[in-house]
């Protein structure tokens, strides 16, 4: 069992985003650099180290859907913008979520969107852990264009679960677009599967979005429920 899971389990909590990201890094999922800032000063220092623009996100046990309550600010281009975002996020979260305890703000470089994919994991009452894949936005929400595989999962399973979605055409490159890094996406699916197999306490994973680029991919947001 991974250390972050052991600790969270002991405390009877789910993983906070930085903990989930640490877990993912240890399973070689493509996690972009990030820092947890506990003060405004630390947030600015982190932003300066990464270089602008950056993203700020609230980290709090009580907050499940960060964007809905003003807990995320994207594309912050200067020190002043980071400082203002810091205040706005803390104020908004404290106002909108009763008794929210803010552990800090996660700072990371603002990355290109690429093609937004989703990797999920759920527990089926009959077949146990299953990994889900789909493209973000309307593909998942409107078209329900997702695929599943039950564990254990092998490389051909991962390949097919991508190619059987309609969104696959987009990943291959449509209308003159260059193809995206599908092998990197396959690795992400297999590493997620491996992580789930080695940590049976995980009940649910939601990597949304996972940005897929022409070269490589990046976990831009992650939730892990125990």
């Amino acid at each position: 069992m991974h250390e972050t899971i052991a600790l969270a389990k002991k405390a009877g909590k789910n993983l906070l985003e930085p903990e989930a990201l640490r877990l993912f890094s240890d399973y070689s999922l493509p996690v972009p650099p990030y820092e947890l800032a506990e003060t405004k000063k630390e947030a600015v220092e982190a932003a300066e180290r990464f270089g602008y623009p950056v993203v700020l996100k609230v980290v709090s046990e009580q907050v499940l859907h960060k964007s809905d309550i003003g807990g995320v600010k994207l594309a912050l281009g200067s020190k002043a913008e980071v400082e203002r975002a810091y205040d706005e996020i803390t104020e908004s979260v404290e106002k909108k979520v009763d008794g929210a305890v803010i552990s800090g703000l996660l700072v990371r470089p603002h990355l290109k969107k690429g093609i937004e994919c989703i990797i999920g994991m759920t527990l089926d009452p009959q077949f146990g852990p299953a990994v889900m894949f789909g493209l973000g936005g309307i593909f998942v929400e409107l078209l329900k264009d997702v695929s599943f595989r039950v564990l254990p999962m092998r490389r051909p399973d991962a390949e097919r679960m991508i190619s059987e979605t309609k969104g696959y055409e987009l990943l291959k490159g449509m209308r003159g677009e260059r193809p995206k890094d599908i092998p990197a996406l396959i690795d992400c699916l297999l590493r997620t599967a491996e992580m789930v197999e080695e940590n049976p306490d995980i009940r649910e994973i939601d990597i949304n979005p996972l940005a897929v680029y022409e070269k490589g991919a990046a976990v831009l947001d992650a939730r892990v429920m125990l």
Partner: protein, 443 residues
């Protein structure tokens, strides 16, 4: 040896609750065992009877001198534990509990008692609350309706009616079944035990499954993965919609997981998933009779232009290649066929064609060698279809699928003979093509 072998290949059967009354299940099952031609010993058990259907009646199981392999139990639920105890002492190998009144109405305790007694004596239990089993190679129809025709399909079903429907279609079509087993409440014998048995059963070529839920998901996956190396498996599992799932729960109390997950399980294990009873039958038929073609190039030979088009659309949608004819093949066909024939794919022999013309055309196409499978569509009454296909089958191992329609009495006769000859016949071209798609995607 699989412990269920002693059940299916039983040499003696007792029916506890056998009845004189022809309307009672205890009468019908006994009659089906007798009329089905079971060659072993048959013991009706009923304290009140002296003789039922010409067989000597015994008042209890212990009164029987000889060995009993299988006991079919048709008495009210509360008497079942007592009968099971007696059966255990008699060293019976398997019990089929037809009676209802157990976990399906919340009577879990009674069911557990039966399971406990059976386990103590090493008796395997099918049911309770089920429609029994039929194993044609042993002429043992401990079920209803009476179906005798032996064939390649083993039907395992959580619904008596779905199973019986497949049995009857297969009999009417002269295809037959190797077996039908009703799962009922699955208190002991489950779908995986049966899949394991039929995977090894030399009389079964394809396993056809109707389930509403599985007993244990992981065991199911492991079992079908192993079984798939030996035989194809087709499954119909309903409960795709929200309300369908609710109906599943009230019918068999199965846990209905997400349908997408079961779909994934099918893809990962290579099980063919059918969407309805017709598909379950069609796919079982195709997989029971034919081997997977080497490629996806199909030649359609038809007497009906319209049906050729329908087949073409279905094929294109399903990833089958309605391959263009080479110049050489076109030339040979044009030389051999009358001028009204449309020489392309689909190859339209037109309405007045005799069966011989199909043979000629396929032989010419076979010589060219660039086709992997054939669909012969016989529209209208064309006698001799069976002879032609039989002849072609002796020349090629490539799959030949037939669709016969609009042919009245001749169609019915030819269809049966084609089935007897091991060629699947479908009533519509689209059903034939879909079955071919399944054949192609099978592992």
């Amino acid at each position: 040896m699989n412990p269920l072998d002693a059940v299916f290949n039983a040499k003696s059967v007792a029916v506890v609750g056998a009845s004189q009354n022809p309307e009672k299940t205890g009468h019908i099952i006994l009659r089906n065992i007798i009329d089905g031609g079971f060659g072993g010993e048959i013991y009706p058990i009923n304290p009140k009877g002296e003789e039922i259907l010409g067989a000597r009646c015994y008042s209890t199981l212990s009164e029987v001198d000889g060995e009993i392999d299988v006991v079919v139990i048709v008495v009210p639920a509360k008497f079942v534990p007592g009968v099971m105890e007696e059966a255990g002492k008699k060293r019976v190998k398997g019990a089929v509990v037809i009676s209802g009144g157990f976990s399906e109405i919340g009577n879990e305790e009674l069911q557990e008692e039966v399971v406990r007694i059976a386990a103590e004596h090493g008796v395997r239990v099918i049911g309770p609350n089920c429609q029994g089993f039929n194993y044609t190679p042993n002429h043992l129809c401990a079920s209803w309706p009476l179906v005798r025709k032996q064939g390649p399909i083993a039907v395992i079903s959580q619904s008596g009616t779905v199973g019986a429907t497949l049995e009857m279609w297969a009999e009417d079509d002269e295809i037959g079944i190797s077996s039908f087993v009703a799962l009922g409440n699955k208190c002991d014998v489950s779908e995986t035990d049966l899949i394991e048995f039929f995977a090894e059963d030399p009389n079964t070529k394809v396993i056809s499954l109707y389930i509403e839920g599985v007993k244990d998901g992981r065991v199911f996956m492991d079992t079908v993965t192993r079984a798939r190396r030996k035989k194809p498996i087709v499954v119909l599992k309903p409960g795709k919609t929200h309300k369908g799932m609710r109906a599943v729960q009230s019918h068999t109390h199965s846990i209905a997981g997400k349908d997408e997950i079961f779909d994934a399980v099918c893809k990962q294990t290579g099980i063919v998933r059918a969407n309805d009873i017709t598909e379950l039958y069609d796919y079982s038929k195709a997989l029971g009779f034919l081997k997977k073609p080497a490629g996806n190039r199909l030649l359609i030979v038809t007497s009906s232009g319209g049906c050729g088009i329908i087949a073409t659309d279905t094929a294109e949608e399903g990833g089958i290649d309605i391959v263009g004819l080479s110049d050489g093949l076109k030339k040979s066909l044009t030389e051999a066929l009358p001028s009204q024939c449309v020489v392309q794919n689909p190859l339209d022999l037109t309405g007045d064609t005799p069966a011989e013309r199909y043979k000629e055309s396929v032989e010419i196409a076979l010589a060219e060698g660039k086709i992997d499978a054939f669909l012969l569509i016989f529209g209208d009454p064309i006698p001799g279809a069976c002879e032609v296909v039989k002849d072609l089958k002796s020349r090629t191992k490539k799959p030949i699928v037939v669709s016969y329609l609009g042919g009245g009495e001749i169609e019915r006769e030819e269809g049966k003979r084609l089935h007897q000859n091991g060629t699947p016949v479908f009533q519509t071209p689209e059903r034939a093509v879909r079955a071919l798609c399944v054949l192609l995607s099978s592992l």
